[in-house]
Structures are given as C-alpha cells and as structure tokens.
Symmetry: C2
Subunit: 325 residues, 2 copies
C-alpha cells in the first residue's frame, strides 16, 4: 500500500495508470490509497474543457498541452466520456491525435469511461484528478462532453471551466444545459473561421449578460474568445485568459483554490456520501438476491413498489435514522 | 388517509393537486398514500414528449390534448422542468397557453419543478404519473425538456416516447443525448414549414438506422413525422402512430405495458431505493449537523474526504453490509 503511494508521488506512470484504471473500474480498495494520497494533493491547477461532440475539444486540449509544455509545465489530461454508441469513435480519434505527446514524460493522458458503476462518472473523475495532482502535475486538463448533469458536476470541480462552442449553433445555443453555461468561466468559439462566428459571439454575450445580471455578483465577467485550434490560432490567448482567471481566484479567495473552498468541498462530500451509500447497500441487496426477488414480487402484483422499497431500505440502515417509521 | 385515497380515485381535482404538490415538495408522508393508490394504477397510457427548449413541445401537447378530448378520452398532463433561469419563462408561457383546457374537467394539467430534493425529478414524476393513473385518466402526457440523464429516465417510464426536434438542427442533432435517441419510439420534426425539414429528416433517419442496426432487434422502426403544431398539422397522424405503437406493444408483450414489465420495474425500483437511501441517511446527517462538521474538518485540513465519507456512511448502515471494512 505505502509502496503504491510512494510510487505515485514519485510520478511512476505505470502505477498511476493502474490506479486510474482501478478507479474507473470501481474497485473499492482504491479508497485506502486515495486516503493516503490526499495530503499530497492541492497543488495542481485543474482546467475543465467541455462542449458538445464535434466542437474540437480534443484538438484544443492537444494545443494547450503543447503550449504548457513549452512553458516547462507538466500536464495531466483526463478525457471523460460516458461511452455511448455515438461518441465511442471520438475517443479513439482523440487518443490517436494525442500521440504526439506520448513520448513526453511531462504529459500523462488517460481516458475514463466509467459506466455501470453505482458511484458514477463524477466520483471517479474527481478521484483521478486527485491522483494526477498527487503525481505532481502542474496542470490537469479535464475534457468532458458537456451534455448531462454528470458533466456539469465534473466541471464544477475545476478551477477554471472553459466551454467550447462552434459558429452556427445559433438559436440552438440555448440547448446548452443552463447549468453548464452558468459554470463557464471562459467561453471559446472554436472553428472561428466558419461563417457565423460573430453572430454566435453576439448570441453568447447576450445569454451571458442575462445570466450574470441574475446570478453573478458582477465580479468575473467570462470572456469569449475565438480560436482555430487546428491552426493553433487563439490558443495562447486562451491560456492567458486562464492565467487571468487564476489570478482573479487568488485575489478573491486568497490562496484557497475552489476545490478547497467550503462550498465545493460540501458538494464533493455530498456526492461521495451518496455514491458510497448506494454502493454499500445496493451492492448487498444485489448480492443476496433480495433486490431481484422484490422485482419479481412487484411484477407478479404481490406487492407495490413503495412497500418493496421500504422493505429493502429500512432494515439496511441504522435504526436510529430520523425518518424511519 | 383512506379518505384521501377515495377522493383521488373518485377524481377529486383539489385532492390530486394537493398530493402532486406534496410529491413535488418531497413530503415523506405521501408514500403511505401512494402505497394505497398503487392497486388502482396500470390503466392509463403514458406518453412521454421530450426535446430541447424551443421546439414547440407544449403547443404539440396542447393540440394532442384537444384531439384526445374530441375522441372522448380523459387526459392528464405533467410538464416537467428542472427549473432553470433559461427555461423558467417557458413554463409560464406553457401554462398560459394550456388555459384553453382549464375549464374542461376531463383534462388535468400540472407542472413539476422538483429541485433541491434528494429524491429528484424522476422519482417525483413517476409518483405523479401513478396519481393521475389512479385518478382514472385514459392518457397521461409527460412533457420534459430533453437534455439530461434525469429526463432520459423520465421518458423511459412512458409507454410511448415522442422525441421532438425542429429543422435546421443539422449537424448539431448529434448533440441530442444518445440515450434519448435510443429511448425514442416516434420522432417528430415540428415547425416543419421551416427550411431544412427534409435535411433534418434524412439526418435523423441515418442516425436511427445506425442505432437500430446495433441496438434494436429490427422490431419497431421509429417513424419520423413532420408536424406544424401551431397550425394543427400532422397532430392527428402523430396520435395514429402512437396507437400503432400501442398495438405493437400489446402484440409483443401481451397486455403487459412497459411499466409493468420486469426490466422497467427493476429500473424504477433501483431508482426508488437509491433516492430513499439518500433521503433517509443524508437527511439524518444534515439534521444532526454531522455533515457540516465533516465539511469544516476537510476545509481545515484535519481529515481527508475519503475518511470523512467512511465516518459518515458506515455507522449509518447495518453492520452486516457486505463490503464494510
């Protein structure tokens, strides 16, 4: 155990890769390693990059990695994609493209799929961020496909969240989940050489202004940048904006970066407790066959689902629980 | 209690409205009522209508209600929207539009917002469906904004799921969450008078064909219809397709409709057990202040979140739980 911890802190790539795979596979034993790694975390700067499929997130990430390496920074990349029939291809393409960094020991790249586990995507990604942080990476770039609640939760763990769109999304830009727009610190219109980039910029500005009036205290005004990631245009400017946001965070929150702030700690602990509860109790109910028997009884009309739920849950939680009847 | 149950079965609008509000507010006592209502459920036909904001779902629902009423059917409508700053306005507009049915005792319309509760949207919506079902409605139309996992889960509870898009979504159609596409039984291109309707139809057909090859057994081939809901065009045809799908379900699954089928029962029970566990245990941890104390300790660096999670969860679940360390 302590051997694993030491190897990770020393940056041993194989050990890190194995641990992240174990996290992705939902192996419970990783928790003990994570506990020991935690004191070594808190140094990396975490950047979330999110947007719909096809907006060019991975090309952008690839260029960001190159520039950060030029500055002598070490970088970890987590590409998070809840594997789906429609996006499965993208992951493969991404990883091939990323190969230009594969011989560089200052870059560590991993994809996470995480499906079918009770804990879910958010939990695994946060743990993987902790691992890359403990490993000593200066920057951790977390790339997610921004469509669901899970992805919103993931980007909320980042220090700076970059939301990527492309021109021509026009009216449909409202289809971006509101929670994601609110979570954006910097907006990027990638493929800005395409027609309609200015219209998209204006639309986005309008939506953000509406949002800010209501929900922000007028502090950080999210900039909107145009990039052409394939031609490496605008990427340096994006990194500069990220540094500005980092400075802003430092000035407003002292040296405390978001994941150490009370609100984010509270959200992360809440998610962790939920996942854990489900894992422990549902794991048991599945193993013992109790869950399947209850399903059969409902299908056969012997019991209603509300009573079945009582019967499954109540005996498995401590009897001093408040609302137990 | 039995009085409430009797009133609901008799279709008393005020009692139903109050119960649905209590469900939406997450009041635990509703469970006892739901248990007693359950034997009276299973008769309504549930239609899910989902799609991005602005595609005209509520106008479509409004027209569907009018036609179903012409056929002498009673209808319940649940408009489900996890309240967001960007869609808040839509709900209001919808409800105003729906007022043409407000004097018709054969129609019952309610919005559900459900936020901030542990149980979440899916759980409350399913319970509300049970209530409208027990109330005796022939059809229940559940309108959701189709962007997140919650909405996917909601439509999976419907017998027939209608997915609504508009022309010109073009390439961006892939931004529709894959899970939602897979859940679609019928696709509607609304506002079909707009340019690009045929292109959208072709794109959609292609995506569905790809999907079907892999994931369906070539049985129900989801039709794609064009509608112009504001002009009441195509709505009758949509209702005919829904009837065809209902016939298909009957033939392939006997008289068992989806929510009584094993797979759906299993999914619903799983969700219900998860919500309940979280509600019971997190409710207690919040009340006693244990959760907040743990957050403070993490922020102050006295404990790591993984250990804090152990300390919160393990004492609250029965000690014979399988993976307890």
């Amino acid at each position: 155990m302590d051997d694993i911890v030491k190897k990770i802190i020393a940056g041993d790539v194989r050990t890190v890769a194995r641990l992240i795979r174990d996290i992705d596979d939902g192996i419970p034993e990783v928790r003990e390693v994570l506990k020991k790694l935690y004191p070594y975390t808190g140094n990396a700067y975490v950047i979330g990059i999110t947007g719909a499929p096809g907006v060019g997130k991975s090309t952008l990430v690839d260029q960001m990695v190159a520039h950060l390496r030029d500055q002598g920074k070490t970088v970890g990349v987590l590409a998070v994609d809840p594997t789906s029939p429609f996006s499965g291809g993208a992951i493969l393409g991404d990883r091939v493209r990323m190969q230009r960094h594969s011989m560089d020991s200052g870059v560590f790249i991993r994809s996470m799929a995480t499906r079918g586990h009770f804990g879910g995507l958010t939990q695994s990604t946060r743990s993987a961020i902790d691992v890359l942080d403990a490993m000593g990476k200066d920057y951790i770039l977390v790339e997610t496909v921004g469509v669901g609640q899970d992805e919103v939760d993931v980007v909320k763990s980042a220090h700076t969240t970059v939301i990527v769109v492309i021109p021509g999304m026009g009216d449909d830009i409202q289809a971006i989940k509101a929670g994601i727009l609110e979570a954006g610190d910097i907006f990027v219109i990638n493929k800005a050489e395409r027609e309609g980039a200015d219209k998209t910029l204006a639309d986005l500005r309008l939506m953000l202004d509406m949002d800010q009036n209501k929900y922000r205290e007028g502090k950080w005004k999210p900039p909107i940048l145009k990039t052409e990631a394939v031609f490496d245009k605008g990427v340096v400017e994006l990194l500069e904006e990220i540094e500005k946001h980092r400075e802003y965070l430092k000035q407003t929150h002292g040296t405390l970066l978001p994941r150490r702030q009370k609100e984010k700690v509270s959200q992360e602990l809440l998610d962790m407790v939920k996942s854990r509860l489900i894992e422990e109790v549902l794991g048991k109910l599945t193993e013992t066959g109790e869950f399947d028997r209850a399903v059969d009884e409902i299908v056969e009309g012997q019991i209603d689902p509300y009573t079945a739920c009582d019967n499954l849950v109540l005996p498995n939680i401590e009897s001093n629980s408040s609302s137990k009847k």
